[in-house]
């Protein structure tokens, strides 16, 4: 009996200093999360409140970006919207198939040249850390110097940026495919290509698509790789292959340093549009993940 010893010992909870330290530290973790929420909330509230007044149907579709001095009611960012969608879509078209194939090589062909697959996988990780501005300069030196500014050059730069991200996320998904599926198909006499294309990739497609969408969402907001590859123009250039182009991100960068009210308002409007595009892609990725998670269960 605890009362018999004269002093009741509470075995459930440590008391005094240890308990206080524990609570302070856990409180600190919550504080860290709160600190994270402040800038995020601040940015989103500002962009939405300032952007919503700039955005109208005309703002999104009018293809002529007016001079900075004009108010936001004149012209629109249509050219930049078209440019962003075009350039990002083409970059995705380049980077996703190549990235998935590279991931297939790392994951499915690792038995033959172990050192090579390991090297590629390691270098893909390192490549995710190459700054986006370096990708822009790289495409400038290898493409723009010879073929001139174009939306295609911008797509190349974005594709270089997306490639390692797509490889990483696809590889993680391929690794999750159970080996018994592969063994089963090999036992039926299938070749490696057939097993990969008809069994392994379909089993991992949900994760691959959602990873790729997240990579596209990140790339759509990139400015640095586009600055010296597409320049900026004031009207729609639907031809991806020739002539300078423009994008929402580069327009925001140019307008942000302008002292004129109209230019700043256009920058906020473009920022809201850009965030909306990125969020839609992110929600799509979540949706795909949830959808496939349900199917496979």
């Amino acid at each position: 009996m605890a009362s018999a010893t004269g002093q009741a010992v509470d075995l459930r909870e440590p008391g005094g200093r240890r308990r206080a330290t524990n609570q302070i530290m856990i409180g600190g973790m919550w504080l860290a999360f709160a600190v994270l929420l402040v800038p995020l909330g601040f940015v989103i509230v500002t962009v939405v409140s300032k952007g919503i007044s700039a955005i109208s149907w005309q703002f999104l579709t009018n293809g002529t970006i007016p001079p900075n001095i004009l108010p936001v009611t004149e012209g629109g960012m249509g050219a930049a919207v078209v440019g962003t969608l075009e350039i990002t879509a083409f970059a995705a078209l380049l980077a996703i198939p190549l990235g998935v194939l590279a991931a297939v090589y790392i994951s499915e062909y690792s038995d033959r040249h172990r050192w090579l697959t390991h090297l590629i996988s390691f270098m893909a990780d390192v490549m995710t850390g190459v700054p986006s501005i370096v990708m822009g300069l790289f495409i400038f030196t290898i493409w723009v110097l010879y073929f001139g500014y174009s939306g295609f050059a911008g797509s190349l730069a974005l594709a270089c940026l997306m490639l390692p991200t797509v490889i990483r996320s696809s590889y993680e998904m391929l690794r999750l495919v159970p080996d018994s599926l592969r063994q089963g198909s090999y036992a039926l006499g299938a070749t490696k290509a057939r097993v990969t294309l008809t069994v392994v990739l379909p089993a991992a497609v949900g994760g691959i698509v959602s990873g790729a969408l997240l990579a596209v969402a990140r790339a759509a907001g990139e400015t640095a790789p586009l600055l010296f590859t597409i320049l900026t123009v004031e009207s729609v250039n639907a031809n991806l292959l020739s002539g300078p182009n423009t994008a929402l991100a580069t327009q925001i960068f140019v307008n942000a340093t302008s002292p004129f009210q109209g230019a700043q308002a256009r920058a906020w409007g473009a920022a809201l549009t850009l965030i909306a595009i990125a969020f839609i892609l992110m929600i799509a990725a979540r949706f795909v993940t949830a959808r496939f998670a349900k199917n496979s269960r």
Partner: protein, 329 residues
């Protein structure tokens, strides 16, 4: 990793077989080559970046020489292209970013893995993903139009309070002229690298064996004592790797820094003064550059490339070494 990647392969006939059955079908070989090519593309791109950009920057090295390149004097009007002011700015801003980002990231990572039940962790992860997807240029726009004007009086108040105090005066003193400064850039970079440092730390912390944690609890440890005794020794190295990766990100972050850093090629200990970083100067000045200046800016890109590659190699090696060590244990 080794166990997971050793997949099954197609069977090879064991005994003597006809030549035909040993030959792989054309489609299979074509696919193999296609996959190999895509994999090699990564290496090709990295090598090409190093080669083409270095070639474009030779003009800079030839016209300035070692002493010119490693001077702090950047004056395009007088043909002076020294890189060190930008290297200094890059180091200062990314160190500020890491100092702010690390406690927050590790705190949130611990919150996610050890404190919150899985059901509640998911929304927190969404919030962090949201943070990661806000474009750099939007942070920059917000930083220069909203944050900087708001910070300026605060900077002034702090600097007048520390006037005369030995070390603090050097760091926070002077009379800041605007909110665009090293410190502002560092804070924005901190926010931008937090998601990546958090998610990497979380991955590392999640690998701590449950038995270690339960052992600590069985000895009567509180949650915090369990974290210090079981989680921390296990994930220390991995978290260092995550922090280094964050540092690499902060060094290369361009557009937000270009907008809020203040655009002034100066070397000063005053953190509230405007400065410049390597990626920022490339973004701001490359457009009008030609000749030696263009070559110098590409050279800065090369420098930045190798700096971030070294930091990343170190970080990845630490993470991988830690993975192996933990798997062996």
């Amino acid at each position: 990793m080794s166990a997971a990647t050793a997949h099954a392969g197609p069977a090879r006939p064991a005994g003597p077989a006809s030549r035909l059955s040993l030959r792989r079908p054309f489609g299979d070989r074509a696919f193999n080559i296609l996959a190999l090519g895509s994999g090699l593309l990564v290496l090709v791109i990295l090598v090409l970046i190093a080669l083409t950009m270095t070639r474009q920057s030779t003009l800079w090295f030839r016209s300035e020489g070692w002493s010119g390149v490693f001077s702090t004097d950047w004056d395009p009007a007088h043909g002076k292209f020294g890189a060190m002011a930008f290297v200094f700015g890059t180091v200062i801003t990314s160190v500020i970013a890491v100092i702010f980002a690390v406690p927050v990231s590790v705190g949130v990572a611990l919150l996610l893995t050890e404190v919150l039940p899985r059901r509640w962790a998911q929304p927190v992860v969404y919030v962090i993903d949201l943070l990661a997807v806000v474009p750099s240029v939007v942070w920059g726009l917000w930083g220069i139009l909203v944050l900087a004007p708001w910070l300026q009086p605060i900077y002034n108040a702090i600097s007048s309070h520390v006037a005369g105090v030995p070390v603090l005066d050097d760091l926070f003193g002077g009379q800041p002229v605007s909110g665009a400064a090293f410190f502002t850039a560092g804070m924005i970079l901190a926010v931008m690298i937090t998601p990546i440092v958090t998610s990497l730390s979380r991955e590392v912390i999640a690998t701590v064996p449950v038995t270690d944690k339960e052992g600590a609890y069985a000895l009567g440890a509180t949650k915090w004592e369990m974290i210090r005794g079981a989680v921390w020794p296990h994930s220390q190295t991995g978290v260092v790797g995550a922090v280094l990766l964050g540092l690499g990100r902060a060094m290369g972050e361009t557009i937000a820094a270009a907008l809020v850093i203040g655009s002034s090629a100066t070397v000063t200990s005053h953190l509230f003064f405007p400065g410049y970083s390597m990626p920022a100067v490339i973004a701001n000045q490359f457009g009008e550059a030609s000749g030696v200046m263009r070559s110098a800016l590409i050279g800065l890109g090369v420098l930045l490339f190798f700096l971030t590659i070294i930091v990343n190699l170190a970080a990845r090696s630490i993470v991988e070494w830690n993975d192996r060590r933990m798997k062996g244990a």
